[in-house]
Amino acid sequence: MALVEIKNVRKSFGALEVLKDVSLTVEEGEIVTIIGRSGSGKSTLLRCINGLEDIQDGEIFVEGQQVHAKMKKLRELRQKVGIVFQAFNLFPHLTVERNITLAPIRTGRVSKAGARALAEKVLAQVGLSEKIDAYPEQLSGGQQQRVAIARCLAMSPDLMLFDEVTSALDPELVGEVLKVMEDMASRGMTMILVTHEMAFARDVATKIVFMHQGRVWEEGPPSELFSNPKTPELKSFIGSNH
């Protein structure tokens, strides 16, 4: 069974159809990178996978469970699917430790006593152990994004979604975040990313999905897609990114 199965999904914002019959399968351990011009529907597709957007038609399954079903089921599902946003979305009033441990404590995966150890463990994975008692505003953008990743890791997810996570960062801070993501990839985490980092897509991804006008226009392994694009749209997209 595939980890994520997207079947014939249609999604509209009012009269504007942004996803037109999109189907996509992601196997466990895959690192799928979704690329495409802005407005091609790639972020919307990602947000549909954990139910942040409803859909008008089609179905999405994660671990065999339908995403667009009951709220309670969706909540259980979300505990297994981490998402990292472009704007970090850390909780400003909570320390790094509390940001990380809030959900694990509330959902009963860790006791209050064991929470700090959990925070220490995931912060070590993103190289920010010394920031455990800091508030988000005291961190750089790159550090905030790494905390956001650690916050997801604390839920030990089976799948991680990344929505343009380096787009809001200063250029010199992009590398530290990508490095953490590479680490996760090498440890076998299943990941779906929307990104403009073409080098990262080429080097780390196992599959590239090129979206255009709300459809999956081309998909395949990076070596194939980048060196031998079949459609003129992908050709021109790759050309404009070099």
Binding site: R78, V81, T107
Partner: protein
């Protein structure tokens, strides 16, 4: 100018003290229940079913567009004909709770609206329930955003308790009218309670500042 004579007035210090305590008590009770109305009302006006939302909006408009004194009279003079009979002090507490609640709903609603939707999404994506997102993600930053407006509304409430003297609820202003009728020292009496009100307001500001500094310690971008 007539000679000032505070001595006569100050002989009633026990009555004034009683008035101060009652004013503070009335303010505290109305603040507590008003804030409760405010939080529940603000959540319902944002997420409740349509009839409830309409009802709450009607309540807010009704209260904010009529004098508090009239609201007090309705509860004290008209409610008894519907079988609800309350003594002056409880009547005043109810009236002021209802009055403060209407403003509190609007203020708290604006506070909840000031929290970006992305914060709610981040909480929901971590598998938190809607209530948990409200309680642990939205509430504290929202309270911080509305703290200046809710505290100044609390000051207005403290000063507004003086209307309760109109139904002979025993608060500070009522004490003043009582002492005035005994001593005929109008100027001294009202000068004295004015000074007391000023002192209470200044003390409140200091308490709010200390509580705010303690409760809202996280750094924010300006």
């Amino acid at each position: 100018m007539q000679n000032l004579n505070f001595q006569q007035v100050l002989r009633y210090q026990d009555e004034f003290l009683h008035g101060i305590v009652n004013t503070l008590e009335m303010t505290a009770i109305a603040a507590l229940f008003g804030l409760l109305i405010g939080v529940v009302g603000a959540v319902l006006v944002g997420n409740g079913p349509r009839p409830v939302r309409v009802l709450i909006k009607a309540y807010i408009e009704l209260i904010r567009n009529t004098p508090p004194l009239i609201q007090l009279f309705v509860i004290f003079f008209i409610f008894p004909s519907a079988g609800i009979r309350l003594a002056p002090f409880p009547s005043a507490c109810v009236a002021l709770s209802v009055y403060f609640g209407a403003y509190a709903i609007e203020i708290i609603r604006s506070g909840l609206a000031s929290i970006p939707k992305s914060q709610v999404e981040a909480g929901e994506c971590l598998g938190l329930t809607r209530f948990e997102v409200f309680r642990y993600v939205v509430l504290a930053p929202a309270l911080r955003n509305i703290y200046p407006s809710i505290t100044s509304q609390l000051i207005l409430l403290l000063l507004g308790t003086s209307v309760a003297s109109q139904i002979a609820a025993e608060e500070l202003f009522h004490t003043a009218t009582f002492v005035e009728s005994r001593t005929f020292r109008s100027f001294e009496v009202y000068a004295l309670i004015s000074a007391i009100y000023v002192a209470l307001v200044v003390a409140s500001h200091i308490i709010f500042a200390v509580v705010g500094a303690f409760a809202f310690r996280w750094p924010v971008r300006r």
